[in-house]
């Protein structure tokens, strides 16, 4: 039986159908299991797991399914592709500088003779690895920081949040440029550089979420039954903030890929022969103005960035719904 309960805050009038109240008039007559089942209260089959029900909500969103397909394809392309499409991405080959797409080089070559398609795969590896890793580090740290700040409250909260404000008040591109100049830009350093900036926003958001959740009655109820704060945070606040956290994480992936691309574009990203999509764009930019069209230097990497980021964002949207128990049906 599908029960549609309007989500809170929806404009549905209260005067429309409410779920059927099957409770008997007084405590004296109780429903037997059989009766309850007939009335649709007891599950007739073994209840499906939370994950399964979440997936069903997710799968309803066709855009998200398509996005998932896109992301899967990009991941396979970057990590499995090189196994089938062998190219030399270490040694430059001046004989094939800027060669246009052909049978042997499907997407042509760049200004130092690397095969463009192969480079797209290698650059994608960097972009995806840095994007995901930076997002995980930033969200983990930001969540803990924000949750602690929000739950403790008071002066500690004020202090912790002023630290975040201070961090956010520095123009992020300056911050990142300083950091990436100070350290030799390798993948690990880039992950660290992006995470250092990105956790600030996450912590602020999670703190806000914790502040609202902390006053919820079900969190207060823990106190009434004699539970500790730890229980309130771990069993009630974090699970209910999980939707926000997951959505933040997916957006963080997209944002990290873009930040890495911007750094690469400025020439501050990972250094050759390693590359990422942003560095590839930067390399192609010099030839954008020339009379001959070198489209294969710009479009593949640009499209890859846009496609990945849009797909990840759509997935994040659908995940938020999937984690909303109220939208799950039996």
């Amino acid at each position: 039986m599908a029960m549609i309960t309007p989500p809170p805050g929806s404009s549905l009038p209260a005067d429309v159908a409410t779920p059927v109240d099957l409770a008997e008039p007084d405590g004296a007559t109780h429903l037997t299991a059989v009766e309850a089942e007939e009335l649709g209260l007891a599950p007739a089959v073994k209840p499906r797991s939370l994950l399964r029900r979440g997936w069903e909500v997710f799968a309803e969103n066709k855009l998200a399914l398509a996005s998932l397909g896109v992301v899967l394809f990009i991941v396979l392309f970057c990590f499995v592709g090189p196994l089938f499409y062998h190219t030399d991405q270490v040694h430059t080959n001046l004989q094939q500088v800027l060669c246009p797409p052909s049978g042997s080089h499907l997407l042509g070559c760049d200004n130092v003779g690397y095969d463009q398609l192969g480079r797209l795969m290698v650059g994608g590896q960097t972009s995806l690895e840095v994007g995901v890793a930076a997002a995980i580090v930033a969200v983990l740290f930001g969540t803990v920081y924000g949750a602690v700040s929000g739950f403790i409250g008071g002066v500690a909260d004020s202090f912790l949040m002023r630290v975040v404000d201070a961090g956010l008040s520095i123009p992020y591109i300056t911050l990142i440029i300083i950091l990436s100049v100070a350290f030799h830009p390798t993948k690990t350093v880039m992950i660290f550089v992006i995470a250092v900036f990105y956790w600030l926003g996450v912590s602020r958001l999670i703190r806000g979420e914790t502040l609202t959740l902390r006053t919820r009655e079900y969190v207060q109820a823990v106190k009434v039954i004699g539970g500790r704060s730890r229980r309130a945070v771990i069993r009630h606040i974090l699970p209910n903030a999980i939707g926000t956290i997951i959505v933040q994480a997916t957006f963080a992936v997209a944002d990290s890929i873009i930040i890495l691309a911007s750094l690469g574009f400025l020439g501050l990203g990972v250094q050759a022969p390693a590359t990422d999509w942003g560095s590839m764009l930067s390399g192609g930019l010099n030839y954008l103005q020339s009379s001959q069209s070198y489209w294969w230097l710009i479009y593949p990497a640009g499209i890859a960035i846009i496609l990945t980021c849009i797909a990840v964002n759509f997935i994040g949207d659908a995940l938020r719904d999937a984690f909303e128990t109220r939208l799950q049906r039996r």
């Binding site: 409770a23 007084d26 823990v222």
Partner: protein, 688 residues
């Protein structure tokens, strides 16, 4: 003369993802000039949708699919948006339930009212503002000219509702639709607002449609009543006739579910089994048949028409109740009476919980980082009382009087500023750590909003087991057994453990919340407004359940509510609070029948009673004015600013608790309404 408003066979559908809701299904009614028509029914019965259909303000997906609405001879149901816009606010005014969300917080009140005038009248801005001041004066707002420039947040809830009414009246409509106009307000303010609407109707010769779930509100104000159920009118007649002789079983059941009907006898309430039908798939035949105790096969197959035997009393039932039946044998109502509160007031056993000079101030701070303290809200000020084992202590008062804070102090959700709470031998305000957590299990809390108090990500089973886990019950099978036991106690099926809170109905959630409170076998349950969000019939189910379990498990209740009828029905002892002070305390019947404090009397007079005779009799009684600020409470007696008997001494000396006839009946007043028993000042704790 033709009636002002005629609705014929109105059908309104709302299209949702899950199907089409037949929200209004063949409603026929009329409103005469200058009369008040009451529309009553439980939530989800279509009364608000009927009102919105008249205004053509249906929610997204809502459409009038059949029937006609005629206002003053013109059919308005098929007018286009432009034409309807001219009628809205001009010929028909509407007052909504929640004055907090119906006013625009970024516009001055004067501008909002003037806007309504400018829309419909060819006037200048000045004239519109003059009119705004005029209507504000009309609805009894002091200094209307000055208040035009104020914003909604500068008004109290009652005042905002007055502004809403003023807005609805700005263009002198012929018809005023008031949709639950007082549901969000306190009884004392409710009475003032209802009186205002009534008074304006007479002075402006308007017609009024009063939509409400509260039979008491209807009793005193409506000339005629239409009872709605599942999108249909099941009974309609004059108010007096309806209350004396309801013919439809649903109307009858509604009356019998009212706690005030059983306040003196304390018989078990009649509760309508089940809940209103799903209007996506309305049942065949009479829609009430599945819940009706008189239903026969014919009711389930055929739909009874709305017809009557005498002029003006229509009902849709094949087997009407009332009249003939009533003169004969009384219906067999389950009569199991509560143990009468014994004459000396010690219905319970030994003293279980004592509060001594309990004080709670909430600091008012300013500044983000350094949080300077600039004042304090005196939420609870020197409150002392005791609760005996097995009794139900009812705590009543207007919102903001501190009754909820007392409940939260007792269950440990707030720390008192000073004073003591003793439970048995232990002082709850002093214990810490492990000992404190162990003590917690003896006192449990039932939240006002059960839905908000249940973690949306937990299944019922996990919710119910959590208290046991916290208190260290390790064995899984033991926990499961206890959960099953509790579900059975509160009348939920065993299959309920698999469900999430959002999969329960309102009444079921309240049961679940109650089951959680019972998990630790507590001695005392603090129930904060446990039934105020529920419909009458569901309310009766919950009250019956609470009462049954009190007897079975030997529970003690601290029952906090603003609803005097409910409190009287369940309580053996009653405490009346006003602005942080306990003003009167005593055995329930004593306090209700012989109130000593003027505030108690005012509250009792304000509460609407489902009895037209009694309602009309108590004209102009009740409490005037509004609750003063708790940041700067009045000196001396805090009630003096609204008290009809107040004299100079009331402002200077705080009245002590004094004893009145009837044991344990105390009140704090210089000029009590009852003779003082012994002229010795006493506090609640020292008294016998």
């Amino acid at each position: 003369m033709a009636p002002l408003l005629e609705i014929e066979d109105l059908r309104t559908h709302i299209r949702l993802r899950s199907g089409v809701v037949h929200a209004v299904d063949g409603v026929t009614l009329h409103v005469d000039e200058g009369e008040t028509l009451g529309i009553v029914g439980e939530s989800g019965c279509g009364k608000t949708m009927t009102a919105l259909s008249i205004m053509n303000l249906l929610p997204v997906g809502g459409h009038i699919v059949g029937g006609s609405i005629r206002l003053d001879g013109t059919t308005i149901s098929d007018l286009d948006h432009e034409a309807m816009r001219r009628i809205r606010g001009n010929d028909i005014g509407m007052v909504f339930q929640d004055p907090l969300t119906s006013l625009n917080p970024t516009m001055t009140v004067g501008k909002q009212i003037a806007e309504a005038v400018l829309l419909h009248r060819p006037v200048t801005k000045e004239q519109a503002y003059d009119r705004a001041a005029e209507v504000l004066d009309l609805v009894g707002l002091p200094r209307p000219k000055e208040r035009l420039g104020e914003y909604p947040h500068q008004f109290s809830g009652g005042m905002r509702q007055r502004v809403m009414i003023a807005m609805a009246l700005a263009c002198e409509p012929k018809l005023l639709i008031a949709d639950e106009p007082t549901t969000a307000l306190d009884v004392t303010i409710q009475k003032q607002i209802l009186e205002l609407i009534d008074d304006l109707r007479r002075r402006l010769r308007m017609s009024v449609i009063l939509v409400t779930h509260d039979l008491g509100v209807i009793a005193g104000r409506a000339d005629r009543v239409a009872v709605m159920y599942a999108g249909k009118i099941v009974e309609t007649t004059g108010t007096g006739t309806l209350f004396v002789n309801p013919r439809h079983p649903y109307t009858e059941a509604l009356f019998e579910a009212l706690p005030e009907k059983a306040a003196e006898t304390r018989e078990k309430l009649y509760s309508i089994p089940g809940a209103p039908p799903d209007l996506v798939h309305p049942p065949v035949g009479c829609r009430f048949a599945p819940r009706c105790r008189y239903a026969a096969d014919r009711c389930r197959a055929e739909e009874p028409p709305l017809a009557g035997d005498s002029f003006g009393h229509d009902f849709a039932c094949f087997f009407p109740v009332g009249e003939e039946e009533r003169t004969g044998a009384r219906r067999s109502v389950v009569t199991d009476r509560l143990p009468e509160p014994s004459a000396d007031g010690s219905a319970g056993g030994e003293v279980q919980l004592v509060t001594e000079h309990l004080v709670k101030d909430f600091p008012v701070t300013s500044g983000a980082l350094l949080q300077r303290r600039i004042g304090a809200v005196s939420a609870v000020a020197d409150v002392s009382f005791e609760i005996r084992r097995g009794e139900t202590f009812g705590l009543v008062g207007e919102s903001g009087c501190g009754k909820t804070t007392i409940g939260r102090l007792i269950v440990g959700l707030e720390k008192p500023t000073s004073g003591a709470i003793r439970f048995g031998d232990a002082d709850l305000t002093r214990s810490r750590g492990r000992e404190y957590r162990r003590q917690r299990r003896h006192i449990q809390y039932m939240f006002q909003d059960a839905y908000a108090s249940l973690d949306p990500r937990m299944r019922a089973e996990a919710i119910l087991q959590e208290p046991l886990v916290v208190q260290g019950v390790r064995s899984r099978s033991e926990r499961q057994q206890r959960v099953a036991e509790m579900l059975d106690h509160v009348g939920l099926p065993p299959g309920a453990i698999e469900r999430y809170p959002h999969e329960f109905s309102g009444g079921q959630r309240q049961r679940l919340g109650f089951a959680r409170a019972l998990m630790l076998s507590p001695d005392l349950i603090v129930a904060d407004e446990p039934v105020s969000a529920l419909d009458v019939s569901i309310q009766a189910q919950i009250l019956n359940m609470m009462r049954n379990l009190q007897r079975e498990l030997g529970l003690t209740y601290l029952f906090i509510s603003h609803d005097l009828a409910v409190v009287r029905y369940v309580s053996t002892q009653i405490g009346v609070m006003y602005l942080g002070k306990l003003v009167e305390i005593g055995p329930a019947d004593q306090v209700y029948l012989r109130p000593a404090h003027p505030y108690t009397k005012g509250l009792l007079d304000s509460a609407p009673v489902a009895d037209p005779e009694a309602e009309r009799a108590k004209v102009r009684a009740g409490v005037t004015g509004e609750l003063p600020s708790a940041i700067h409470p009045p000196s001396g007696c805090r009630f003096r600013t609204r008290c009809p008997l107040a004299e100079e001494i009331c402002a200077e000396v705080e009245p002590p608790m004094r004893a009145f006839p009837g044991s344990g009946h105390l009140a704090a007043c210089h000029f009590p309404l009852q003779p003082v028993l012994a002229d010795s000042p006493a506090t609640a704790v020292q008294a016998p």
